[in-house]
Symmetry: C2
Subunit: 330 residues, 2 copies
């Protein structure tokens, strides 16, 4: 059975050689264990942070050990109470075709209620990240203007749709005309900006947000966020979810200092990770499922076929090759 390990800590943009495939011996399960066969692997920008050394909110990956991320797997054999052959589970698992688990941190999911992959997307950590980051930090009120960067990405596309459900004017920022078109026609955004062709971001945002920006859901950081910063209203809230524009930086990224902007308009900026809200996941998932069923929330996925393509799928995230959630179907 194949496993994907971290071969070297990436410098700058990750390369295929930073990963390696290792074949491990088939393992046996004992009492209290089950055997899992991977079906879907979530590749996410935040994994880039775990590939670096140093203290962060979660332990860094170890060299020559399997990488872990959100995954869906099928139970192929079980000596563990509560799990039977044929069950599907979701949780943090290792990038292995087959692995042994004691069930820690795994939840059983219902393959009949929703497509398996959606448990990594809108019904999984992606949806929860959008839900809590927008509602708890952004606190959008009907009639306010919400700007989302990385808007065509996994989290961003859900953030924008939830903001629409809340009655806001929603403006998305993405990296191609095709994505911009999709945000407006498919996800119901009021306007969208292609940052690659917009010229001055500050001006493009001013034009798309005639009443200023009340909430900014930031997935990218960098110059895009600088442009938003120039258009904030008094008491604006910035939910700092990700900074994909900086994850591959090899020196400390510099930019305009934010303090004057925060003071001028009494702005709140709050970084978060989804694990901060773990006790409340149970209240969000049914709401997300309901919106999904009602057609108020649409999920987009970019599905890559084949376990062996997992490293490339991860690398492609940094060129924005995904629309919505990037998932590897094993």
């Amino acid at each position: 059975m194949k496993t994907i390990q971290l071969n070297s800590r990436p410098v700058g943009v990750p390369k295929l050689s930073d990963f390696k495939f290792v074949t491990e011996q088939q393992v046996q399960i004992t009492d209290g264990e089950m055997l899992l066969k991977a079906t879907h692997i979530s590749v996410d920008p935040y994994l880039r942070g775990r590939m670096m050394e140093g203290k962060s909110y979660i332990e860094p990956f170890e060299l020559n050990k399997a990488i872990t991320s959100g995954m869906i797997a099928e139970v192929t054999e079980s000596k563990l109470a509560g799990f039977s052959k044929g069950d599907f589970v979701s949780g943090m698992l290792e990038w292995k075709e087959v692995q042994v688990s004691k069930g820690e941190g795994l939840v059983k999911i219902d393959a009949k209620k929703a497509p398996l992959s959606s448990y990594l997307g809108v019904l999984g950590m992606t949806g929860l990240t959008a839900y809590f980051g927008l509602l708890e930090i952004g606190k959008p009120k009907a009639g306010e203007t919400v700007v989302v960067s990385g808007a065509a990405g996994a989290v961003g596309s859900i953030v924008g749709q939830i903001a629409k459900i809340m009655g806001c004017r929603v403006v998305g920022i993405a990296g191609s005309d095709e994505k911009v078109e999709q945000l407006v026609s498919e996800f119901g955004f009021d306007a969208a900006i292609n940052y690659n062709t917009a010229g001055s971001m500050a001006e493009a945002i001013a034009e798309a947000c005639p009443d200023g920006v009340d909430v900014y859901f930031d997935n990218v950081g960098g110059e895009i966020s600088d442009g938003v910063m120039m258009n904030l209203n008094r008491f604006a809230r910035i939910s700092v979810c990700g900074a994909i524009s900086m994850y591959n930086a090899t020196s400390v990224p510099m930019g305009p200092r934010v303090q004057p902007f925060l003071i001028k308009n009494s702005v709140l900026m709050q970084g978060f990770i989804i694990f901060n809200y773990v006790e409340r996941w149970g209240e969000a998932t049914p709401q997300l499922a309901k919106w999904l069923q009602e057609g108020k929330l649409k999920s987009t996925e970019t599905i890559v076929e084949g376990f062996e393509n997992t490293p490339q799928a991860f690398i492609d995230l940094f060129e924005g090759k995904n629309k919505g959630k990037m998932i590897v179907e094993v």
Copy 2:
């Protein structure tokens, strides 16, 4: 009667020639008015922002018009109900030796209960800024570590003392050995750092804060704040009160982008101005007065004598020539 007007909008550090003295004719009061004689003028770093053009949270000063700031004045003549000759008032007034007022925004103060100047300091906007900025945004809990920049300044010295009252470990950052000594011996800070001699701020703060930083009350911005940013604990709160290091900048100040730090430790950064809490000033002032009476809060002032020295006193703020609140005694 003399008045101090804005002669030109400062470029970089304000100069005496940015101000001008104009002699106006003595005015008469009519019914519903009173005549005020200035006794104390508060000079504050935030006034620098009002000297620039452009939209901010308060209107910019107009050229060739009197500057305004927090002031104490004595009523010398009154045709206004509720105010009598000999009363003292506090509020936003014009930099004039004598002026007419309808009483708008002014409160009567009791010269017997506390020194007049303290109504501009610990019992005035300075104290309120420290109180709400620390308690409402920083939310310090006993045992946590609170770092204050501009610690020997008007707001900073009060912030540190309130944090001590709350049971925190308090570390101040200031610009001279004399100030550092005063913070520890007079105001009860647990440690203090002279940023002019400390070398690496990040290392100096790490040393002074072995358990990391839970709350950062930021009066200065710039490289000092960069050093604090490297030492933040999970769920740290940054109360962004001022950015004196940037007020005289002639180009956009650049620095390390903050987003990665905010995400890594789920940090909150909140800018504010004291007017956000105007409905709650009434609850804070009695508490501040009580602490002052009990000796838990000490007030320091740098008193400059003479109305004509007001512009220079303001300019001196940016070289840190004040200890505590800078006040002009007219």
